[in-house]
């Protein structure tokens, strides 16, 4: 198991380890089934082209899931994901790399909780942020662990 991340390990400006993905059309179909979202835009190329797109699109909510994975990987089992939001600004297509990235924007202690706010986004092969968003996580603290021990 990966080493647990603590509040004390995090500084404003540090980057979250990126998560690199490259969804295939097959994965879009798999996600459609696993999520129950059968909107044709994500697997029927004729439908997507009739809507003016060159190909089927990666589901926004799948990109949300990938950002979630980047965060839960980072915070480990001792961390809690409190908020996760993102906007689907740009389209992503199957077969193209999606890199999930993030950066710590703020950290503070409130009501005994060690809170870290992050900017997060997905990047396409042209370096455009197609899915910008924000996340708030709660991390364990070494100081608190010591007190409880």
């Amino acid at each position: 198991m990966a080493k647990q991340l603590y509040y004390e390990d995090v500084e404003v400006g540090i980057e979250i380890p990126p998560l690199v993905k490259c969804p295939t059309t097959r994965q879009l179909v798999q996600w459609a089934g696993a999520s129950g979202d059968y909107y044709e835009l994500h697997y029927d190329k004729d439908f997507a082209q009739a809507q003016g797109f060159p190909n089927v699109l990666v589901h926004g909510k799948l990109k949300f899931g990938l950002l979630g994975q980047m965060l839960t990987d980072w915070i480990g089992e001792g961390g809690i994901l409190r908020k996760l939001s993102c906007s689907y600004r740009g389209t992503d297509f199957p077969g193209e790399e999606i890199v999930c990235k993030g950066r710590v924007a703020n950290k503070y202690v409130k009501d005994g909780e060690h809170i870290v706010e992050c900017e997060i986004w997905t990047e396409n092969p042209s370096g455009e942020k197609t899915t910008p968003g924000n996340a708030t996580v709660i991390l364990p603290s070494r100081a608190q662990d010591k007190k409880e021990a």
Binding site: G33, G60, L71, E77, C86
Partner: protein, 155 residues
């Protein structure tokens, strides 16, 4: 730019609560679809020995299908109204989730949806209509486990 009276009348619409049973197999299939190897979402033994005591859901998964809370029912009445307002194309604009408690396999959630807002804006390709859908998820103990605000863009 104003929205049509037909759309205005849909603001505040609530949906019948939907019951969602959170199943281990559904969690695992969802984790597979995202390609997330996290054992909390797939390994019962590991999850049971963790602080959660049971498999939990990855962020944004509340049982199958994910778009519940009456979202599909709301969309069914919204889509024709949006088309009549001249915006037949529907896109997912984004989502904002707050998670209050972990969701474990075996939980029974009740989700309820509401059309919180509908507004129009002039974009570079013409009129765009933004619909905000709010969904709450309450578990079998009556605790609020999560809330979401989703934006549907029509153009």
């Amino acid at each position: 730019m104003a929205i049509t009276d037909e759309l205005k009348a849909l603001i505040g619409t609530t949906t019948e609560p939907v019951i969602m049973e959170v199943e281990r197999g559904a969690i695992r299939r969802y984790a597979d679809a995202i390609d997330d190897p996290n054992p909390l979402f797939r390994d019962v033994e590991h999850a049971q020995s963790s602080r959660y005591g049971e498999m939990i859901c990855p962020p944004g998964f509340f049982g199958w299908p994910v778009k519940r809370g009456g979202v599909m029912e709301v969309l069914a009445s919204l889509t024709p109204a949006l088309a009549r307002a001249g915006c037949p194309r529907i896109l997912d604009g984004g989502v904002d989730f707050e998670f209050y408690l972990p969701i474990r396999a075996g939980d029974i959630l009740t989700s309820s949806g509401k059309v919180a807002d509908i507004r129009a804006r002039e974009g570079k390709t013409g009129t765009m209509i933004f619909t905000t859908l709010e969904t709450t998820f309450i578990n079998q103990n009556g605790d609020l486990v999560a809330k979401s605000r989703a934006t549907i863009i029509s153009l």
